[in-house]
């Protein structure tokens, strides 16, 4: 086989192999979830038909799905970017919440200023909020040796507590009685929808960020250095790379992505910061990142898939009398199956022909 063909085949089979494991994990999870709903007396076939209809069946459900997908893309980046350095960050929820709070506070404080100023200010505030939280987890890891997975999780609880404190205290809108929240954003500052749809511009923001993250990691010296640190910190140190700085900057960027999701949620959906921002986008984002194998580009379709699963929850509730949370069961099953299937990666006999010939001695 000519070398270029061998390269192509190797490349292709690597891609197929990378796709096969997550796809198989999803398939197994669907089967398990089907068995689960069958146990509670629901026909799995009917359920999956309904799920498909609720997620991708109509233009209406597509819009619902895409609206949910946009924050998922950004929160998934919060896990996928640090993963390039070998870090497992699960604090996307906290970064989203803190970013939303900072963005809402900024938007309210700047009330009256031109939109062209307020939006960037809100976005920057949201990104700074998220960056502070996740960058903090990175800094703790670098300089104090604190496990970043645990600290990012715990920082999430702190972020949620800060949100609750602020919307019930200093930033509370006196008019918000039964649901404490910040003062509403002026209508002019709300981010609109894409022409001809109910999907807001956050989807575009998410896709742009995902592509930018991919370019950063794959096509820049920064990303190259980050992947060196992720692959082998000893080799990175031997090359003189500033490992600590890369670590903190990358975690801060990751937090900024989730913080931006918070800003978009405030400026496009809620119009204010309140406890309803804690909607699980951060935790689902972790799952999206893992299913996308931490690839920023793959995050986009996977986020759409999970947006669809979330969107179908309402239909299942109405038509099958399943609790709204049942789609969370499906998400949970997918996550567990996926983690279990990681061990399968690269072991499938089907792809054995791709084992490099140079393996020797």
């Amino acid at each position: 086989m000519p070398p270029f063909m061998h390269r192509a085949v190797t490349h292709l089979s690597a891609s197929v192999s990378a796709l096969a494991v997550p796809a198989a994990a999803v398939a197994v999870s669907l089967a398990l979830f089907g068995a689960f709903v069958a146990l509670v007396g629901v026909d799995p076939v009917e359920m999956y038909q309904l799920m498909y209809r609720g997620a991708f069946g109509t233009w209406f459900s597509w819009q619902n799905t895409l609206t949910r997908a946009s924050p998922l893309i950004l929160t998934a980046l919060c896990t996928a970017l640090p993963a390039q350095l070998g870090l497992v960050i699960i604090g996307g929820e906290g970064a989203l919440v803190l970013g939303a709070l900072a963005a809402a506070a900024t938007g309210v404080a700047l009330n009256g200023a031109p939109v062209a100023l307020v939006w960037p200010a809100m976005a920057l505030a949201g990104m700074a909020g998220g960056a502070l939280l996740i960058g903090g987890a990175g800094a703790l890891r670098q300089w104090r040796g604190v496990n970043e997975t645990i600290s990012s999780l715990l920082l999430t609880y702190i972020a949620i507590a800060v949100l609750n404190h602020m919307v019930e205290g200093p930033l509370k809108d006196p008019a918000s009685l039964n649901k404490p929240s910040t003062a509403p954003l002026a209508d002019t500052y709300m981010i609109g929808t894409l022409p001809g749809s109910s999907v807001h511009w956050g989807l575009v923001v998410g896709i742009v960020c995902a592509v930018a993250a991919w370019v950063l990691m794959r096509r820049t010296t920064f990303g190259f250095a980050a992947r060196m640190v992720g692959g082998n910190p000893r080799a990175a140190r031997m090359a003189g790379l500033p490992v600590g700085r890369l670590l903190v900057v990358t975690t801060a960027l990751a937090g900024a992505a989730a913080g931006l999701a918070g800003m978009v949620e405030v400026a496009a959906v809620h119009g204010r910061a309140s406890a309803s921002l804690v909607a699980g986008y951060g935790s689902t984002g972790i799952l999206v990142a893992f299913l996308a194998r931490q690839n920023p580009l793959a995050v986009i379709p996977v986020a759409v898939l999970f947006g669809g699963i979330g969107a179908s929850g309402g239909l299942l509730q109405r038509r099958l009398d399943l609790p709204d949370a049942s789609v969370l069961v499906l998400q949970g099953i997918i996550f567990v199956v996926l983690l279990a299937s990681e061990a399968m990666q690269g072991r499938l006999r089907l792809f054995a022909f791709a084992t490099p010939a140079a393996k020797e001695a």
Binding site: G223, M228, R234, A236, G240, P356, A358, K359
Partner: protein
């Protein structure tokens, strides 16, 4: 030195059941389009030591892995004790009495020898009666020529004792055919002679058949009965060692391909200090002091060899110089300026590094060969492209590939291509790839640690030549090695490191091996003042 005199006479060993023979018949193994082994046969006679020689990539490990059941050969058969057997996995190999000792230690460092050996058994009871186990092991060891402390944590053992423990483990698991993969690459010459002598003694007593993979002709000539030589996956020759000389073996191994001619050190070493280390202290991984004030100067165009038994601070010294470990005190200067191993300083002073275990220390296993070769150059043209303020940020993957193709050709790295993950290369080729990366640029200071560890004859000569050439061009070379012969051959100046300090300094010409040996062992006959620059007179 008469190594044979160390061998314990067979009579002193209780006789066990005779060891079986092992035969590999016309084994062929292909990986995709690549034929790693082409109908290779090997016959290990019962109760003998058989050496398997070959360059990196010649197929030695593949052959052994086929025998041990790690790989399934595409054609051919394995015969144990005159019966053809099918070995599907390493556990099956164990039931046929085959045991393998790897180049790298596989015992759990924090567990004692006893714990390691008991845990290695195929079936370990849920509740372990340690007293009974220890008695069993003691009885077993009484029948063995190996003396090891079974209650010592493996981490505290010297390399030679670790290797013995690995061998004892296989024997304890009833291995009657022992396969040793470069067993002496981590041992001092004395330890190597002792270990191989003991094994040969057991073979002579008929209790073991031994297949030993090695590069060292000296060991083949001294300890093996028969030899098989592989070259590029084919049988290049075999026969009794007595019928061969090191030269004839080398010819079989290398064939007609040209090899690097040893390069002579030319001209005197420079006098201008390039690398100056003063009062350097650093801790080891567990936070205990490992370097107790190292003072060392390396001049331009000089190779300074650092000898010592492993674990005396050499690793930490190299790590500090390579930027992998922070110093706790002292200073490092390169070219008269303070040096903290940042990327900018490495570039300005052209400091390069050949660390030991390059896959672990100098490569990212999952990244491609091209990417690994770009670790020094990815952030400068031509791999970065474009102008403007973002110019230094953009990678040009095509340029990276081109640079790698050039290095692969120049340094003869055997790989399926620049896009293969570097972890798929053989050890020697990983080493070549790192060598290409580190030495293809201008080098003013080279830190090399056991740069030829585990490499074969031709590769060793090649890498030595490269290091000496660098020295002749004016590079200051700090060469840390556990191979004293290597240091004596290459160094302009030789220092001995013990307990985290330089305790002795000499030149290869004036070196007294007895004094060096004592200093390495940490008990010089008379107190040695490790004063900076003060030369210790050799006796």
């Amino acid at each position: 030195m008469n190594v044979m005199s160390r061998i314990i006479p067979p009579a002193s060993l209780p006789a066990g059941p005779p060891a079986p023979g092992l035969e590999a018949v016309a084994i062929t193994k292909r990986f995709g389009a690549f034929t790693a082994l082409d109908a290779v046969s090997l016959k290990l006679r019962p109760g003998t030591v058989h050496a398997l020689l070959g360059e990196n990539g010649a197929g030695k490990s593949t052959l052994v892995k086929c025998i041990m059941g790690f790989y399934r050969p595409d054609e051919g058969a394995v015969v144990v004790d005159d019966r053809e057997v099918v070995i599907g996995d390493p556990r099956a190999a164990q039931t046929h009495g085959l045991g393998m000792v790897y180049q790298h230690f596989t015992l759990v460092p924090r567990m004692t020898v006893l714990e390691n050996l008991v845990m290695a058994r195929a079936s370990v009871p849920a509740v372990i009666d340690w007293r009974a186990e220890r008695r069993r092991l003691a009885d077993f060891l009484a029948t063995m020529p190996f003396a090891i402390d079974v209650d010592a944590p493996v981490a505290t053992l010297a390399a030679g004792d670790k290797q013995k423990a690995e061998i004892v483990k296989q024997l304890y698991l009833n291995a009657r055919v022992l396969i040793l993969d470069e067993p002496t690459s981590v041992l001092t010459p004395d330890e190597a002679d002792e270990t191989l002598g003991l094994i040969r003694g057991m073979a002579l007593a008929g209790r073991l058949s031994v297949l030993i993979i090695t590069h060292k002709f000296r060991e083949v000539m001294a300890f093996a009965d028969d030899v098989t030589v592989l070259r590029r996956g084919r049988l290049a020759g075999s026969g009794a060692v007595a019928d061969h000389t090191p030269d004839s073996l080398a010819r079989l191994m290398i064939g007609d391909s040209s090899t690097a001619v040893p390069v002579e050190r030319r001209g005197p070493a420079g006098m201008a200090a390039r690398l100056r280390i003063a009062g350097l202290r650093a801790d080891d991984d567990s936070g205990l002091p490992a370097l107790h004030g190292v003072d060392l100067t390396v001049n331009m165009g000089e190779i300074v060899g650092v000898a010592g038994v492993s674990g005396n601070g050499q690793v930490e010294l190299v790590q500090v110089l390579a930027g992998q470990r922070a110093a706790t005190a002292g200073s490092v200067q390169v070219g008269g300026e303070p040096y903290r191993a940042t990327r900018a300083e490495m570039r300005r002073h052209k400091v390069h590094c050949l660390p030991e275990e390059p896959l672990r220390n100098a490569c990212v296993p999952g990244m491609t060969v091209a990417e690994n070769m770009a670790f020094r150059s990815f952030d400068e043209p031509p791999i970065t492209r474009g102008g403007g303020w973002l110019g230094g940020w953009w990678l040009d993957p095509a340029a990276m590939r081109r640079a790698a193709l050039d290095l692969i050709a120049r340094y003869r790295v055997k790989t399926t291509g620049p896009d293969a993950p570097i972890a798929t290369l053989s050890g020697g080729n990983v080493q070549r790839a790192v060598l290409a990366r580190e030495l293809s640029r201008e080098v003013d200071v080279l830190i090399a640690a056991n740069p030829v560890f585990g490499l074969d004859f031709a590769a060793v000569a090649d890498i030595h030549a490269q290091i000496v050439e660098a020295r002749n061009r004016g590079t200051a070379v700090l060469l840390v090695s556990e191979d004293l012969d290597e240091l004596l051959e290459l160094s302009d100046r030789l220092v001995v490191m013990s307990h985290g300090a330089i305790v002795h300094e000499t030149t290869p010409a004036a070196a007294d091996l007895t004094v060096i040996g004592r200093c390495m062992a940490g008990n010089p006959a008379h107190p040695v003042a490790p004063a900076d620059g003060q030369r210790q007179p050799a006796r």
